[in-house]
Structure formats: structure tokens, C-alpha cells
């Protein structure tokens, strides 16, 4: 008991220290702001990690009740393995992003007070969201999280597009909160209490669907995902990393937390979640392939990964519904493992993409190319991220996808004739999604880093000298993530123990951790690395004393190839996208080549999200249409004003007299 108290004090200190670091840096000169913030938040991170790791690894639950007078009343703050897992991820990833931000923000030459102030709010808000156990306080933290991230998005606010997107983001979040409002209010009506603890057994299907929609908007479920690909390109890269790596998972946390209050989820919900997951994964990665802006593409890929997490969650729920405990266990294992892994490799990708952006000043992959020669470290780190996100061994992405497949295979053994084909088709979709990820990332990696540069401008700094690789201050945090990515892939049997306690909070009987299988994978991955090493060595030996000629690329006899003739991002994905046309809309602006001696022509293609096109746009247009119908009311004529009032009065009088 005493320990719990101490731990919670450390925890609160850490949170206050974060806010304090945001405030403290305001007092310092522009030059020192980043360092001051990094130092204090580093301290806060270390402090926060103490109770978190203890709760997570020793499977303990710390809680503390704080009394807020009036409306909110008593608020429980809980650090159980479920919360602690998320806190751990938030702390580590945020801190790496903060380290990165110092060098990243340097060239912007901007006032940083606001940015760091809101970052100092954003991180504790996320931490509180995953620990607070009271409806109102949860919603407050949730909103502060949305708001502070909104201000963080506004970093480049001179651009109109940035402001529009930020508003779009905040409004979408607002809509999400409204769904949460409805869900929580219905719950509150059922239980009469604001405490999460009272929800046990009160979450009906309707409530869950509302909450799912609310949390799903944050998480980026299809069709609520449209804010995500807009928000990420405009955010500073370390913010994209935190938002994509951590923040959207708070949506998943919400769903998971609600699940702890459900004894056994109904089949409807389970299939719904599975369906959403499959749709998110498929559409997310499909649109990722269609993008040429690499940050947008990474954002879409986040939707896909959220889809995978949701698929796994769907299996976990199906497992509980069908009383297949192993499937449920593996499903939850997949959920947590993938959250962990995605929050490693997605920041890794976003941060290395940020390095590219800060050097080349363009996010359009069609203008890049050949960067691997000027930025070898960034390129290698991006490659590691790409391999990990494509779930390729020996990196960490494979481990979680492996769990998802295992959950699915176990589900098949439930011998339910309805479940069976659904699971098999899910396997098919998952495998297809895997193939698509491969296309998306080979494409993006190649068009940014490989081949020849497509634009001379991108290879020069503003002063005109050729660009170099990023500063160490940026490479080190990315490198740490890359090392984690590899280590988790190589030794999953140890690293995956991180999530086991969190998984067990959902299970009646603790999951038998598949150590044997994981150590097999570990052995295999080591063997893979060794084989690659051996073969490379053999190759080196064979090449000893041989001539290595450097020559131009063979262009099948054509003598004057230039960089424009390379396969670009668009052309690479075209054959594949050819047979998926119904799922997206491509607007082409191309006049064609006419006459014998054609004049200059141009070609422009734009890919539109079908959900944006058929769902979001009509709603906005419809609103506009309806609202414009009423503009005449405020006409400026006093007599009309008076008349409206009198008519209203008359109607009421008639109503009263008639009754």
C-alpha cells in the first residue's frame, strides 16, 4: 500500500515535471529552449519509467484517488499492466522524438516557446488519458491531448493548407469526442457513476459501438481515417512520429479499457471489429501505395497498421466470444505486440523521413531519388524501418504479425462453420495486405533513396552546396529505434515478455507464453543473419583479385538515358493499381500529345480517397447547401425582423388557444 503511494507520487511528479519543462523553457533564450526542455522532460521520463516498469514487469496495480470538488468528484489514477504498457510506450517514444526535435527544429528559425509548451502538455495528457479512470476527467485529458496536438500541428501556420488541415483535425476529433460523449453518457445513465470501475457488465452493444466510433476516429479506423493522411504531412516530423506512433494508439487503449469491463463480447461486436480492421488494413495500404508524398504515405500506412491491430483485436474478441481461450490470448498478444512494434518502426520511419524532408525541403517522392549516396545513414535507417513494417524477418514487425496469424490459425480450430471461412478469408486479406505493404515500401524507398536524383534542387542546400547526411542529434534517436527493431526481431522470446502481463489482464486463465516458438524464430533469424553474412563473405572472397568495373547503367542500347526516364513512384505502382481501380478515384489532368510537332504538355494525376469522395465531401456539401438556404433571414430590414418575432408569437398564441 505504501509502495503504491510512493509510486503514484513519483508518477505525478513526472507528469508535473513535463508540464513544468514546457513552462520553464519559455523563460530561456531561443537557443537554449530545446536543451532545457529535453533535460527536464528527460528527467520526467526517467521518473515516469520507474513506477511504469515496476507495474508492468511485476504485474502490480498502483492507484491513487484524487478528490476534485464539485462536478468531477473523486478521480482514480491507475497504473495497472494495461496502462503501464501504454505509459511505457508513450514515455520512451516521446522522449526520443524530443531529442530528435532539437536538431530538426534548428533550421526553421522560429519561436519555439509555443511548440515546446504544447509538447509539454501533449505528453502528460496522453499519459493521463491512459491512466485516468473517471469519465469526465478522461474526456478532459482526451480533449487536452487533441488540443495540444492541434497547436503542435500549427507549427508551420503561415501556410493556409496547414491551418485548414489543423482545423479539419480538431473538428474530426471533436466529432469523435461527441461519440464518446454519447457512449459515456449512456453508460453513466446505466451505472449512475462516473467511475470506470462501475462499468463492469454495463457496456451494451449500442454503447460499445458509440465508443468504438469515438475511439476509432482517434485511432483512424476506416472510414473515419481521413484526418490522418492530412494531418501528418503538415506536422513537424517528430510530432508525426509521436502522433502516429503513440497518440492514435490511445484510441486502441480506449477500446481495450472498455473491453476489460465486458465479460464476453457479443459476436456482433467481434465481427464488427474484425471487419473494421480488415477494411482499415486493406484501404490503408491501398491508399499508401497511391501516394507520392512520403509523409502522407506513412500516414496511410499507420491506418493499415491500426487495421492490423484491430484485426488482432477482432480475433481476440472472437476468441472470447467462442470461448477459445488460446485464440483470445494470442489475439491480445498480437494486439499488444503490434502496438509495441508499430510504435517502434513508425516513429523510426517518420523521423528518418523527417531527416530527408529537412534536407531536401520536399515531401514529394517524385522529386527525389539517389539520396542513399548523400544520406547513407538515413537511408539505411529508413530501409530498416521499411523492412520492419513489411513484417520481414529478422525485424520486429514480423513477430507481431506472426502472433496475428497464430491467433487466426487457432481460431480455425474452433470448428465453427461460420467462423472458419471468415478467418480463412481474413488470412487471405492479411497476406494480400502483406504483399501490398511490400509494394508500398519498396516503391517509396526506391523513389526516395535509389536511382538517380530527379530534381537537382532537392540535392542542394539553400546556399547551393550539396546536402549531407543529418546531424548526429537526429540520427541517434532513430538509430536507437532501429536497434530496438532488430533486437526485438532477434530475441522476441525475451522482449515479448513486456506485454505478457498486459495481455493477461484480459484473460481468465493466464496465457501460456509461446516461448518455444519464439526461440525457434529467434534461432532462425540469427541463422538468417549468419547466412547472409557468410554469403556476403563468400562473395567478397570470390571477388578478390577480380576486376570490378564501374560503368553506366545498361539501358538496352539506348545511349542517353536521363533521370526522368527512371521508373517513378507513380509508374511503379501503376500495374498493380490497375486491377484495384474500383477502390480509389484517380483524377487525371492530361491533354494528350497532338499534332506532328507536339507542343509542351503536362500530365497530372491525383488520387482521391473514396471515403473522402463519397462520404465526407457530400456531408460537407450538404451542410453547406442546407445552411446557405437560410442566409436570407438576417436581411437587415427591421420590419422583417419584427415580423419574424410576431409570427413566432402568433404561432404560439394559436397553439395555446387551440389547445
Amino acid at each position: 500500500m505504501k509502495e503504491a503511494k510512493q509510486m503514484m507520487i513519483i508518477f505525478f511528479t513526472s507528469i508535473i515535471l513535463f508540464v513544468f519543462s514546457g513552462l520553464a523553457q519559455i523563460l530561456f533564450k531561443e537557443k537554449y529552449k530545446a536543451i532545457i526542455f529535453t533535460l527536464f522532460s528527460g528527467l520526467a521520463t526517467v521518473l515516469g519509467l520507474i513506477p511504469t516498469t515496476i507495474a508492468l514487469f511485476q504485474n502490480k496495480t498502483f492507484f491513487n484517488t484524487v478528490n476534485f470538488n464539485g462536478l468531477i468528484g473523486n478521480v482514480d489514477f491507475v497504473l495497472d499492466p494495461l496502462s503501464a504498457f501504454f505509459v511505457l510506450v508513450i514515455l520512451v517514444i516521446s522522449f526520443l522524438a524530443i531529442i530528435y526535435s532539437r536538431k530538426y527544429l534548428e533550421p526553421y528559425n522560429k519561436k519555439l516557446s509555443a511548440h515546446y509548451f504544447f509538447l509539454g502538455l501533449f505528453i502528460p495528457a496522453m499519459i493521463l488519458v491512459v491512466t485516468v479512470q473517471n469519465i469526465l476527467f478522461f474526456l478532459i485529458c482526451w480533449e487536452i491531448m487533441s488540443l495540444s496536438s492541434f497547436f503542435l500541428l500549427l507549427f508551420d501556420s503561415e501556410k493556409k493548407e496547414v491551418r485548414q488541415t489543423a482545423i479539419n483535425y480538431l473538428i474530426t476529433m471533436q466529432i469523435g469526442v461527441l461519440f464518446l460523449f454519447i457512449g459515456f453518457i449512456l453508460l453513466n445513465l446505466n451505472t449512475g457513476s462516473l467511475d470506470f470501475a462501475s462499468f463492469q457488465g454495463h457496456i451494451s452493444n449500442t454503447i460499445f459501438i458509440f465508443l468504438l466510433a469515438g475511439f476509432g476516429i482517434k485511432a483512424g479506423f476506416v472510414p473515419f481515417h481521413t484526418w490522418l493522411p492530412k494531418a501528418h504531412p503538415i506536422a513537424p516530423s517528430h510530432i508525426s512520429a509521436v502522433m502516429s506512433g503513440v497518440m492514435i494508439k490511445t484510441g486502441i487503449y480506449g477500446i481495450l479499457r472498455m473491453l476489460t469491463f465486458i465479460e464476453s463480447p457479443s459476436l456482433l461486436l467481434s465481427y464488427l471489429v474484425l471487419f473494421i480492421g480488415v477494411a482499415s488494413a486493406f484501404f490503408g495500404i491501398l491508399y499508401a501505395i497511391t501516394q507520392r508524398d512520403y509523409k502522407r504515405m506513412l500516414a496511410y500506412s499507420s491506418i493499415e497498421n491500426i487495421g492490423l491491430i484491430t484485426i488482432s483485436l477482432g480475433f481476440a474478441m472472437l476468441g472470447s466470444s467462442y470461448h477459445n481461450h488460446l485464440m483470445a490470448g494470442l489475439g491480445f498478444l498480437g494486439v499488444f505486440a503490434h502496438i509495441l512494434n508499430h510504435s517502434i518502426f513508425k516513429p523510426l520511419l517518420f523521423l528518418s523521413a523527417g531527416s530527408v524532408l529537412s534536407k531536401t525541403h520536399t515531401a514529394d517522392s517524385e522529386h527525389l531519388g539517389g539520396l542513399i549516396k548523400t544520406m547513407p545513414y538515413t537511408a539505411s535507417l529508413f530501409l530498416i524501418g521499411s523492412l520492419a513494417i513489411s513484417a520481414l524477418p529478422p525485424f520486429n514487425g514480423f513477430i507481431s504479425e506472426f502472433f496475428i496469424y497464430l491467433a487466426m490459425l487457432n481460431g480455425i480450430s474452433t470448428d465453427n462453420h461460420f467462423l472458419f471461412p471468415i478467418l480463412i478469408i481474413s488470412i487471405g486479406v492479411l497476406a494480400f495486405v502483406g504483399a501490398m505493404v511490400l509494394i508500398a515500401f519498396t516503391n517509396m524507398f526506391s523513389s526516395i533513396f535509389l536511382g538517380k536524383s530527379r530534381s537537382e534542387k532537392a540535392l542542394k542546400t539553400e546556399q547551393g552546396s550539396p546536402i549531407s547526411d543529418s546531424a548526429l542529434g537526429m540520427l541517434i534517436p532513430i538509430g536507437i529505434l532501429a536497434v530496438f527493431s532488430l533486437l526485438i526481431g532477434l530475441f522476441p522470446q525475451y522482449f515479448m515478455q513486456i506485454v505478457i502481463n498486459s495481455v493477461n489482464t484480459f484473460l481468465t486463465t493466464p496465457l501460456n507464453f509461446p516461448t518455444q516458438i519464439l526461440s525457434n524464430i529467434s534461432m532462425f533469424n540469427l541463422a538468417l543473419l549468419i547466412t547472409i553474412g557468410v554469403i556476403l563473405l563468400v562473395r567478397k572472397l570470390l571477388l578478390k583479385n577480380k576486376t570490378v568495373t564501374i560503368h553506366k547503367t545498361w539501358a538496352c542500347g539506348y545511349d542517353k538515358p536521363n533521370s526522368k526516364m527512371q521508373y517513378s513512384n507513380y509508374s511503379f505502382s501503376r500495374p498493380f493499381l490497375g486491377f484495384l481501380t474500383p477502390f480509389f478515384i484517380r483524377e487525371l489532368d492530361f491533354k494528350g500529345i497532338k499534332e506532328l510537332f507536339p507542343k509542351a504538355t503536362h500530365f497530372k494525376s491525383k488520387t482521391i480517397d473514396i471515403f473522402e469522395y463519397y462520404l465526407i465531401r457530400p456531408i460537407i456539401n450538404f451542410d453547406k447547401f442546407i445552411i446557405q438556404k437560410f442566409y436570407w433571414v438576417q436581411s437587415g430590414n427591421v420590419q422583417k425582423y419584427l415580423l419574424y418575432g410576431l409570427i413566432f408569437l402568433l404561432l404560439v398564441i394559436i397553439w395555446v388557444v387551440r389547445k
Binding site: L387, A431, A435, N512
Partner: protein, 352 residues
């Protein structure tokens, strides 16, 4: 283990056999079946030419690809654990990843074209593979290659059908993954129509040798998979299957033209169709065995050995191939016909 060694040794014999068959069918004498070995050794002895556009990716890609193929073979033949086929598929994907970025590294428009086609046309292979394997796994409640091969005997018509459909699907996969006709023509001289060959235009010397080896190995791996399904234990059986498939590929390459590029995707859809048929059959088997509510923990023990309610497990262990020869298989024949006629319909699309 023996199989793994054979797997490492035989790839070039396999391609040699294919080439020999093609030569014989076209009325030539052809090179020796061991010619690919000589080519390989010759390539290893040569120096290399590297494009000035390339980076280290280009140089490590073939080696990594080869390593992936070797380890995939290892998974298939030696190293078994629950879920190994997932790893198998992803290791193959890792190889593909590096082949593709290796090709893109040259900055050549042709190699980009090849890479783009490669990833597009093979995108449906993985789903089909997973659907088939997991369907079979589902009926047998097994999760690894070795136990999968163990349970694949029969006492029922549906089982036979499942095996046949799977084998046909796997055979089609060889053609897709190995870049053989009708998907790709390895002997074409027009770069615009190539898929795999055009990706490696710039590789030379050792790297090219590795690429040849890896590609042959990949085909052989799929062949081994088929062989292991048909004759899981006998080494001679394995050799026979290998021989038959090589000859079959040779014959197909001799008598068909490659497909128009736009039709290749449709061709790969056949794979999905076959896979879904396997799934339907598996569902049928589930109805028949009617085993319901069975609980079991697969981490502790394997069901095919212990579970008494599982009828297939207790069935006679008769190789399916033998069964094929002895029993009346009307349905099978019809089904096979249907599959092949659809395949023929697609192939009549013609050249590019």
C-alpha cells in the same frame, strides 16, 4: 536433412532438365542437363561490372536473396515448428524485397519496369499460399510443415480433391514465382516483355550467378513442397516428382505462348480461385468429420497423434499419388479439366 542437401544441390539440374525438355520437344538435341552448373561456376569466376548509379544495396541484394532462399529451404525440409510456413512465406518476401530494391537501385527504366511487374504479379501468390496451407492446417489442426505432410493422406474423396487442387495451385505458383511461361518468358530477347530477367540486366559475375541460383532454388523449393505433399518420406519419390515437374514445365514452355501482360493478373486470380476451392473443401470436411467443441492446447501436444476424435489422423497412410492411380476419380478429372480449361482460356490472350 537429406532433402535439404538435395535441395541445395539440385536447382541447376532442375533448370537443366527444363531446358533439355524444351530442346527435345522442339526437335533439338540441346545442351547437357548439367549445363547450368557449368554456367554457374563460370559466372563465379568472373569479375563484375557495377553501374555508377548504384549503391551498396545493389551489391548486397543478390546475396541476401540467395540467403533467404536457402533458409526458406531449411524451413521446408529441416527446421520445423508451429507456424513455420508463415515464416517461410515472409522469408521469400524478404528475398523479393531485396531483389526489387536491387533492381531499382540501378535507376534504369527497364529494371524499374521489371521490379514493378514482379511485385504486381506475385502479389496474389502469398494470399493463395496462405489460404491453401491454413485450410489444410485447419482440418488437421496442425501448424507446421512436417505435421502438415504427415496428415496429408486420405480416406476420403474430398481429401484427394484437396490435395490435387493444392498441387495444381502450387504448380501454378512455380510458374509465377519462377517467372516461367506463361507468366514470363525466360528466353525472350525483348526487354519490354520481360519480368524477372529485366530486373537483373545490370547484374554480372558472382551476383548474376547468385541470382540464377536463387531463382532456380525458389522453383525447386515449391517443387519440394509439392513433392512433400505427395510423397512425404521417400527420397526416390521426391526425385520422381522433381523430374515430372521439370519435364512438365519444359513441355508447357514449349507449347504455350506467354500471356499478354494485362492478362497475367487474371491468371494469378486462378490461384485465388483454387485456394478458395480448397477452403470450401476444407469446410466440407469439417462438416463431415463433425468434430465440434473440441478443446485442445496446441502448445503442449500435437493433435494428430493424440486426438482420438480426429478421423483423418487414424486413416491409412497411403500416399496420395498411389491413390490417384488406383481409384476412379471422375470428379477429380472434371475439376482438373475445368481448371485447365480456364487456364487455357486465359492463355489464349496472346502476346503483348
Amino acid at each position: 536433412m537429406m532433402r535439404f542437401l538435395l535441395l541445395l544441390i539440385l536447382p541447376f539440374l532442375f533448370t537443366g532438365l527444363i531446358n533439355k525438355t524444351k530442346a527435345l520437344v522442339s526437335g533439338r538435341k540441346g545442351a547437357s542437363v548439367f549445363q547450368p552448373y557449368f554456367d554457374f561456376i563460370k559466372l563465379l569466376k568472373k569479375g563484375i561490372v557495377i553501374s555508377e548509379t548504384t549503391s551498396f544495396i545493389f551489391q548486397i541484394a543478390p546475396s541476401i536473396n540467395l540467403a533467404c532462399m536457402i533458409l526458406a529451404g531449411l524451413l521446408l525440409c529441416v527446421f520445423h515448428f508451429e507456424g513455420d510456413f508463415i515464416l517461410f512465406a515472409y522469408v521469400l518476401a524478404l528475398g523479393k524485397f531485396f531483389t526489387v530494391i536491387g533492381a531499382m537501385d540501378t535507376g534504369s527504366s527497364f529494371e524499374g519496369m521489371g521490379a514493378s511487374r514482379e511485385v504486381s504479379y506475385t502479389s496474389l501468390v502469398e494470399p493463395a499460399f496462405f489460404i491453401i496451407i491454413s485450410s489444410i492446417c485447419a482440418i488437421g489442426h496442425v501448424y507446421s510443415f512436417d505435421s502438415l505432410f504427415k496428415i496429408l493422406s486420405f480416406n476420403h474423396m474430398t481429401w484427394v480433391l484437396i490435395v490435387i487442387l493444392s498441387v495444381v495451385a502450387l504448380f501454378l505458383m512455380i510458374l509465377v514465382e519462377g517467372s516461367r511461361t506463361p507468366v514470363d518468358d525466360p528466353t525472350t530477347h525483348l526487354e519490354l516483355t520481360m519480368i524477372h530477367e529485366v530486373m537483373v540486366l545490370d547484374n554480372s559475375g558472382v551476383d548474376l550467378g547468385f541470382i540464377f541460383y536463387a531463382n532456380a532454388l525458389k522453383m525447386l523449393i515449391f517443387t519440394t513442397l509439392i513433392a512433400s505433399i505427395l510423397t512425404p518420406h521417400s527420397l526416390w519419390g521426391y526425385m520422381v516428382v522433381l523430374f515430372i515437374i521439370a519435364v512438365l514445365i519444359g513441355i508447357i514452355e514449349s507449347i504455350t505462348a506467354r500471356l499478354r501482360l494485362t492478362h497475367i493478373i487474371e491468371y494469378t486470380f486462378i490461384l485465388i480461385t483454387l485456394a478458395l476451392m480448397v477452403m470450401a473443401l476444407a469446410l466440407l470436411t469439417m462438416y463431415e468429420t463433425g468434430a465440434k467443441g473440441r478443446k485442445y492446447d496446441y502448445f503442449s501436444n500435437l493433435p494428430c497423434a493424440t486426438s482420438p476424435s480426429f478421423s483423418v489422423a487414424k486413416a491409412r497412410r497411403l500416399p496420395v499419388a498411389v491413390h490417384l492411380l488406383t481409384s476412379e476419380t471422375d470428379t477429380t478429372a472434371k475439376l482438373g479439366k475445368a481448371v485447365f480449361s480456364s487456364y487455357a482460356g486465359v492463355s489464349s490472350g496472346g502476346m503483348i
